[in-house]
Amino acid sequence: MLSIKNLHSQVEETPILKGINLDIKPGEVHAIMGPNGSGKSTLASVLAGREEYEVTDGSVDFLGEDLLELDVDERAQNGLFLAFQYPIEIPGVTNATFLRSSINAIRKANGLDELNGAQALKLIREKMAAVEMDPSFLKRSLNEGFSGGEKKRNEMLQMMLLEPKLAILDETDSGLDIDALQVVAKAVNSMRDANRSFLVVTHYQRLLDHIVPDFVHVLYQGRIVRSGDKSLALELEKRGYDWIKEEVDAQTA
């Protein structure tokens, strides 16, 4: 599905990712954890194709194609979805209009018929119920004035509508109460299947009680410094990040 090799990336001459290696196979759920500022969002942004992050070395293969050669929209059309840590507000564009354009952009790129207004609306309403969003959000401007939790639900709604092959969730859990957290977990779990993979970026273990990962990686100072199974997350929960930091700092000293 996704194969990242020795990925280096920098912003304005400052190196942030310093050699990431990661393989995700179809059907797997990988969690990436790590202290603030370690490069988790940067990794997500680089995979989605954000221009300001310059790739200085390494390669990324996504479904047999060189991901780094593709434009942002082509990556999305190929089935890569990023749930944003901070979803963007777009005034004047209703959620309904946006969702339909997005669904149809992806369908069209994949050779499927576009949905008409009624078909799209039916689908959207169905998925809205699944993420427990009130239909009144259809008429509101995209993310404008949404609370943190509402924005994250809206991200999950988009994920369910677009049915990506690889969904990257960037701290979708942060700032959520337990109910909202369960909505996120439910959305992901309902979509888990043998052909779909997830990369779940989180700072806390608690999300992983609900979305049980196959692998857990710790990102620190732009590198994956430790990988393991779900027990690694539990260990981090108990011991915090300091012991890992100390180990790494001792090695690099």
Partner: protein
């Protein structure tokens, strides 16, 4: 900001000129030219006098300098003041129209033929100053509506023209208005009788065709008591290296309980990306809410012209009268726009709304200039203004100059203004959801303009969106 700069480097899509033979006056302006125009049009004595008086007034005036635009001075003697299609057509049906002209309309995407007629729009087309064809006149005539060229109105309804012409915009009003009064060529005339609701949208397309001709059309719309009309004006001009002058006048009069809705989509040639060529658009538009409970609304989508100087205004004389101004102004490359409105509250309980959306791209400058004036007798006047600017890239400018002159304490005035930048993160977000760069940009821009598009007649809104997309597009085709 690479994306935005690429978008800013877009090109004009309507750049072609057609070969209709024109009958053009040599450049220059003097009394003889004024007499020539008047004679050419077979005008009555009073109108010639009106023109000559205007010419004398104009000669004493100087060009306004307060506008926030910068351009080479116009040489008024280098302009030709008259160009008309040679075979002056008197046509009853489209079949009689010069096929070249029909082709012109088709290029413009004006479905003058069946489609438009079926969709219920009567079109009065003005090419280089002479109105060529008017459709649907008969159906309109059945309910007593007059919709014809200005010249025809002068011949057929001189009493109406004489009664109203210049009552909303006096000759002395400003430099360009005075010039228009002296040399105006043609334009449209609309009269809606008492109690009649115009059964269709009335539409006129203006287009500047010949080289070096200024276009000086004028429009007069009169809505009698309790009547209603919606009028659409679309403008475009071929691509030329020379700058062309356009100085029009539009006067609206709404009597008691009458409503006039005037919508414009203006797409005059803006010049190339180095600022060469393009229309100078110096237009005076004003509506008079003469009677109680009357209403005038101006809606404009401005994407063209090298320089725009335009303030569609409402004089709210009747008690409880309402004035509205909804505007989208787009500037790109080296375009400059100074546009806005004036709301003059004279009567009691008069209300006005101003919604202005300015979009600047490239190295363009986009200025909103608006006046809200409340006279001493205007008890309980209300105004709400919202002026938003959207910047694309960081080489363009947006400016807002709201002027307030309030002489009655009961007035309630509200003004809101915002300036925002199209964010790379907005574009990134939409593209991450599969939208192409163009679609992402258009989505953001359409969202920004939503309040204005919502009040445009439906078919016009679609056209306006298309125009916006074209003027912000990075490549043709």
């Amino acid at each position: 900001m690479e994306v935005l700069e690429a978008h800013a480097a877009s090109e004009y899509k309507y750049g072609w000129s057609s070969d209709i033979e024109t009958d053009t006056l040599p450049p220059g302006l003097n009394e003889d030219v004024v007499r020539f125009i008047s004679a050419k049009k077979d005008e009555p004595e009073w109108l010639l006098d009106y023109r000559l008086e205007a010419y004398r007034v104009w000669r004493e005036m100087v060009e306004p300098k307060w506008v926030n635009v910068d351009y080479e001075p116009v040489d008024f003697n280098a302009i030709s003041y008259y160009a008309a299609p040679k075979e002056k057509p008197k046509l009853n049906s489209l079949d009689e129209v010069d096929p070249e002209l029909i082709a012109t309309f088709n290029k413009l995407g004006i479905p003058l033929e069946e489609q438009k007629i079926l969709s219920g729009v009567a079109v009065d087309a003005v090419i280089d100053s002479v109105s060529v064809t008017t459709t649907y006149k008969e159906r309109l005539a059945e309910v007593g509506i007059i919709f014809c060229s200005f010249s025809e109105a002068v011949k057929e309804h001189p009493e109406l023209v004489r009664k109203y012409m210049g009552t909303v915009i006096p000759t002395k009003d400003n430099f360009y208005a005075a010039l228009n009064n002296a040399v105006f060529s043609d334009g449209s005339f609309v009269y809606i009788p008492k109690g009649v609701r115009c059964p269709m949208e009335l539409s006129t397309y203006f287009r500047i065709n010949a080289i070096n001709t200024g276009q000086f059309e004028r429009t007069l719309i009169i809505a009698e008591e309790g009547s209603y009309v919606s009028y659409l004006e679309g403008c475009t001009a071929p691509k030329r290296d020379e700058n062309q002058l356009h100085a029009a006048i539009v006067e609206l009069v709404a009597h008691k309980d009458a409503e006039i809705k005037y919508s414009t989509v203006q797409n005059w040639y803006p010049g190339d990306k180095n600022g060469k060529g393009g229309i100078y658009n110096f237009v005076t538009k004003r509506g008079l809410c003469e009677g109680e409970n009357s209403k005038i609304s101006w809606t404009q989508v401005e994407t063209g012209s090298a320089i725009t100087w335009k303030y569609p205004s409402c004089v709210l004389k009747g008690d409880n009268s309402v004035g509205e101004f909804y505007s989208v102004a787009v500037t790109n490359n080296l375009q400059q726009a100074d546009t806005g409105t004036k709301m003059i509250h004279i009567g009691k309980n008069t209300r006005s709304t101003i919604i202005s959306k300015g979009i600047s791209a490239g190295k363009s400058q986009n200025t909103y200039r608006g006046l809200v004036k409340v006279l001493p007798k205007a008890e309980n006047a209300r105004n709400f203004s919202q002026c938003d600017s959207l910047l694309m890239g960081d080489k363009c400018g947006a400016h807002t100059f709201p002027y307030l002159e309030v002489d009655n304490k009961s007035a309630q005035i509200e003004h809101e203004a915002t300036t925002s930048k199209i964010g790379e993160d907005q574009l990134f977000y939409l593209k991450q959801r599969g939208l192409s760069e163009e679609d992402a940009l258009n989505t953001i821009v359409n969202g920004f303009c939503k309040d204005v598009f919502a009040v445009l007649p439906m078919e016009f809104a679609a056209e306006a969106k298309k125009l916006l997309a074209i003027s912000l597009e990075n490549s043709v085709g």
